[in-house]
Symmetry: C2
């Protein structure tokens, strides 16, 4: 089974458990709406690619790690779109969760997705319980305090923000966790894989900022110009040319950081293909 | 060390980890504000009491289970108080988190507390990793979908609600998890302890509904009359006398459900003392 099929099947199984008879139907529907259809699933694909390069001897645990990371990403999107943050009407080309289901169900859906993310790790750890503490700590650290997604988001409430730190926490941390979790799920040390995730995460953020600056809402499935509208820090303070140069450098560093391992050639090919997915043609040309 | 000191010390250590230099200071402050000073800490005390009755051979894991449950409880209070739910200005006798820190930080604080709850379990599981999957599953199930706290809260968004189910999910589930997690942290089967948690949880909810109906805001540290104001299901539909009778029956059943074990007498005494804490004198007299 290819990575995309593994990810969608695992997410489907997790969502189905929340839809048992007797569960509140609107929240169950909001959860499915927040997770399907997905975006590019970049983070879980990266997680499975590293697990594969590391031998993938516990594929159920790797699938759960990948799904857990995607659920946490979806949760952050649902809460980021709330009126008290971005007040975004669109996400992935359709109304955001609070627009479709109302604000109470959007808050609850984000909460439920966080819980489901950790629950699915526990459910998959039966055959390798000794891997669960480090895997869970790594993933939790990437979304919580003091340096995960919520910390990154919280910098928007502070008078002074360091751009690199803000991006590292709000976006980079979950990418780094994706590569590290892939290694941990396969019983390998996460450290050699951290830089790969960090580079791809930062590249993704720079590309997203360029999209936001240059893109049209219809192209990116959400409103454009949001960074400027919300006075958010953006890599575009480097200028379009500077940001494009940064993007190119990061992708090069990502590829060079891949440790020597049996699956390294395959992983390199996956990452090259992935980079053309999240960096559309016109931006890739700018970066070339 | 007594149970209260163990709980406060464990919560303090977890909060301190979120307050490292370089963490966003307002969110760090909001987290501390949401957790300290606490309420009666009924759930974590119950968890430690059961762990003690079960031998408490991994006290660090029991402490983490108790703290995890309290963090999840605090998170649910922060999010329940938000303008889109109860819009409550007061909690535990002081301004609610969103009143003190604003809505964005209240949303993030609730999210961060959920993550910290699971992270602290993982951090404490090093010496007994095989206990982590079931412990984490039990606690996560009590707050997530389909039958945990968020499910209970989501019934407020549905046109029809079954009162018993609503209370079982919104309040009872975390009490049941508290007793079951105490047993699991000590390496024992959770099943014999479930009914104890369920009974105390339901009793607590009935007492809370009576408080809300009869109490003054100053006595209970939060606005009274909220159930009626928000058209929420309440045990007071049974009438004050019916609800008081129910409370008495539940405390009797709770005490009778305690399995035969070395610490059962001590546990019984703790629960009797606890019940006078959460049922104030005038209500206890009504229930007597």
């Amino acid at each position: 089974m290819d990575a995309t099929a593994r990810i969608e099947q695992c997410l489907e199984a997790i969502l189905a458990r929340a839809e048992t008879p007797g569960s509140p139907p609107k929240l169950a529907a909001a959860l499915r709406y927040a997770v399907f259809p997905g975006g590019a699933r970049v983070r879980p694909r990266l997680c499975l690619a590293v697990a594969h390069a590391c031998g993938d001897d516990q594929p159920g645990l790797a699938d759960a790690a990948a799904a857990s990371i995607e659920l946490l990403h979806c949760s952050s999107l649902v809460h980021d779109d709330l009126p008290c943050f971005d007040d975004a009407a669109l996400r992935r080309g359709k109304p955001s969760v609070h627009m479709a289901f109302g604000e109470p169900l959007a808050v609850l859906a984000g909460d439920a997705l966080i819980v489901m993310a950790f629950e699915c790790l526990a459910a998959a750890a039966g055959s390798a319980p000794h891997r669960l503490p480090s895997l869970l700590s790594k993933i939790a650290g990437s979304v919580g305090m003091p340096h995960g997604i919520v910390a990154g988001q919280a910098w928007e409430c502070e008078p002074e923000v360091e751009l690199a730190k803000y991006h590292r926490e709000k976006t980079g941390s979950l990418f780094a966790a994706a590569t590290e979790a892939g290694a941990l799920a396969a019983g390998q040390s996460p450290d050699p894989w951290r830089r790969l995730g960090e580079c791809i995460g930062e590249a993704y953020q720079v590309a997203d900022d360029l999209h936001d600056l240059l893109g049209k809402a219809a192209d990116i499935g959400k409103p454009s110009g949001q960074d400027a509208a919300h006075h958010r820090p953006s890599a575009c303070s480097l200028g379009i040319e500077g940001a494009s140069r940064r993007l190119k450098g990061l992708m090069k560093e990502a590829l060079e950081s891949i440790p020597a391992c049996p699956g390294s050639d395959e992983l390199r090919a996956i990452i090259l293909a992935e980079s053309t997915r999240f960096v559309p043609k016109d931006l890739a040309q700018l970066a070339a």
